[in-house]
């Protein structure tokens, strides 16, 4: 009898190993097991979260006011930071549009609760409370705010099995943030995460961030994976790079399933087609406009497109969008000084005559004169550069926020 039972199981095992994916002969057993266990897990999870919510939302409110105050301050700081980042993003999008670069955007996610695990040290997988009826499909990426978690492996009616990145059978395309070295992220039998296929002659510093490379077709590019903790010579020609996942995989409670990823070409926000020369001109240091433009700007009336014509005194000058054409071929001496603080992003220094000769072309973010940008909390310093040209007269210095 023992031999018979063992033989039957070994035979079943062999069939599964030979046909691991197609039609999955053990599907029925798995469905039964999951249908038996997960309702209990869901019920228990519901009781636990309900109790916790009642306690934390109605009774244990100590320190909430102080926390609220801190959070408000944090929101203010982050709002300012967001403006600066959005300006950088705009610029990046314009450049990507020039290169016909296709980006991957996470356009839709679904929040899910982790309700159970596989219960085995050797199978690092968890169950979430969303399944086929919620639109979950196999191979969807699962992430948290901290970093990636894994991918959906099996989908049942109302639950799904998620394979964690520290499982030995998982694999994630990864790239190092600064050195841009690519590799494959794998789990080990001991539950560690290593970056494989990095040649031993590469210099990988400990502490470097690891991001998704997008090469696996599951995770969009640029999601945080973790940090390099240890680098050692490995077997053959590759390094042994250990990575600590950014998301705490042993204490998962809520995750996001990426249900839709859009791949689209980057579109610049501004109207009209961007040209390389426009982008480059905007990134150039301050270059004065042509003399005739300057004359036009000095005179009242309609302003020349692309000139920055401070109205009135320099202190209340309102910059206009600078045209690259205006800067091209212009000749003058312009000096960029250290912009400190950035609140004085575009302000003619000392000269209140309102001349446009000191047109700033360095950064579209500054030329658009976004008020929030002026209040940017980070004092960013720019290198002082001097461009000597055949200008007929000295131009006022323009303080500028670097990009």
């Amino acid at each position: 009898m023992l031999v018979g039972v063992l033989f039957a199981q070994v035979l079943g095992l062999a069939v599964q190993v030979k046909r691991p994916t197609d039609s999955e002969p053990t599907r029925l057993i798995r469905v039964w097991a999951v249908d038996v266990v997960t309702p209990l897990e869901k019920a228990l999870h519901w009781v636990q979260t309900s109790t916790s919510n009642v306690w934390h939302n109605y009774f244990y409110l100590r320190g909430v006011r102080a926390e609220n105050r801190n959070l408000k301050q944090q929101i203010e700081r982050m709002s300012l930071e967001q403006v600066r980042i959005s300006q950088d993003a705009d610029q990046a999008r314009r450049l990507q549009a020039l290169l016909a670069f296709k980006e991957q955007f996470i356009s839709r996610t679904m929040a899910a609760q982790v309700i159970g695990s596989s219960g085995s040290e050797l199978s690092r997988a968890v169950y979430i409370d969303k399944g086929e009826s919620d639109g979950i499909r196999p191979d969807m990426a699962v992430i948290t705010a901290d970093g990636i978690v894994g991918k959906v492996l099996r989908v049942y009616r109302s639950t799904s099995q998620v394979l964690l990145i520290d499982d030995q059978t998982s694999g994630v395309g990864a790239i190092l943030d600064k050195t841009r070295i690519q590799g494959i992220l794998r789990g080990t039998p001991a539950g560690e995460v290593v970056l494989e296929k990095v040649m031993s002659d590469e210099a990988v510093p400990a502490g470097e961030m690891v991001l998704t490379s997008g090469g696996d077709g599951i995770f969009p590019k640029g999601l945080l994976v973790g940090r390099v903790t240890k680098v050692a010579p490995g077997s053959e020609l590759f390094l042994n790079i250990r990575v600590r996942p950014a998301a705490d995989l042993s204490k998962l409670e809520e995750v996001l399933v990426v249900t839709k990823i859009d791949e689209r070409q980057a579109q610049p926000d501004r109207a009209g087609a961007a040209r390389a020369v426009d982008i480059l001109a905007e990134r150039l240091p301050t270059v004065p406009s042509k003399p005739e433009n300057a004359v036009k700007a000095d005179t009242p009336g309609p302003e020349t497109p692309g000139t920055v014509a401070p109205k009135g005194t320099g202190s209340d000058a309102k910059p206009k969008t600078a045209s690259p054409e205006a800067s091209a071929g212009s000749g003058a001496t312009a000096t960029r000084k250290t912009a400190s603080p950035p609140s004085s992003s575009v302000a003619p220094s000392g000269n209140s005559s309102g001349t446009s000769a000191g047109t700033s072309l360095a950064n579209p973010a500054t030329t658009t004169g976004t008020p929030a940008l002026k209040a940017s909390p980070k004092p960013v310093k720019a290198k002082a550069t001097t461009m000597t040209t055949d200008a007929p007269k000295p131009q006022p210095a323009v303080e500028d926020t670097p990009h």
Binding site: M1, L2, V5, L6, Q9, V10, G12, L13, A14, Q16, V17, P20, T26, I29, R30, W32, A33, V34, V36, V37, L40, E41, L44, V114, I115, G116, S117, S118, G119, S120, E121, L122, S123, A125, V126, Y127, L153, R154, Q161, L163, D167, Q168, T169, T188, P189, A190, S250, K251, L252
Partner: protein, 172 residues
């Protein structure tokens, strides 16, 4: 209190009610899947294995032992992402071995149960290791300190689990 002897003719044989036979293994598998989320260290325990050993030693029937072991193991396999049969085969062997040994040894004392659990935990791990490497091709890390620690931890928990099982088993 059950009286047991080392003679095969005088040993007490117990049975479990149908609800206990169904619910206890299910609860063990459920707790094994649920508790590690709250207590990550719990993965070193193997509650379904302890229940398998407990049932097998109480029933003292090799047939019942191997069937119980195989069902519990397959149920446990179904929750993992590995092929079904790894835990199934391991626990079948353990169920058969524990029930066969239970006929010949006194397994009513805590010390004997402690040692028995350590031995069968080792058997379980060795069988699992061999199958997963030999048949499935999984990379396995065998670390003696970890296995020893897990064995002792499971044996300690096993003594408690067997005490709980004593309360629900019925003399035939």
């Amino acid at each position: 209190m059950a009286v047991t002897y080392t003679s095969g003719e005088q040993v007490e044989v117990y049975r479990f009610s149908i609800p206990a036979t169904i619910l206890i293994p299910l609860t063990a598998v459920f707790l094994q899947a649920w508790l590690p989320l709250r207590f990550p260290f719990f993965t070193i325990f193997d509650l379904p294995l302890l229940v398998t050993i407990g049932f097998a030693t109480a029933r003292r029937s090799p047939l019942a032992g191997l069937l119980t072991g195989s069902v519990i193991g397959i149920l446990q396999d179904a929750l993992t992402h590995h092929p079904i049969g790894l835990y199934g085969i391991s626990k079948t062997v353990v169920g058969f071995g524990a029930s066969s040994l239970g006929i010949k040894l006194d397994v009513e004392h805590a010390g004997a149960r402690f040692l028995l659990t350590i031995v069968f935990y080792a058997v379980h791990e060795v069988v699992y290791f061999m199958i997963s490497r030999g048949l499935v091709g999984l990379r396995m890390a065998w670390t003696w300190p970890h296995e020893l620690l897990s064995g002792v931890a499971n044996a300690m928990l096993g003594v408690l689990v067997f005490m709980l099982l004593d309360r629900v088993k019925q003399r035939t």
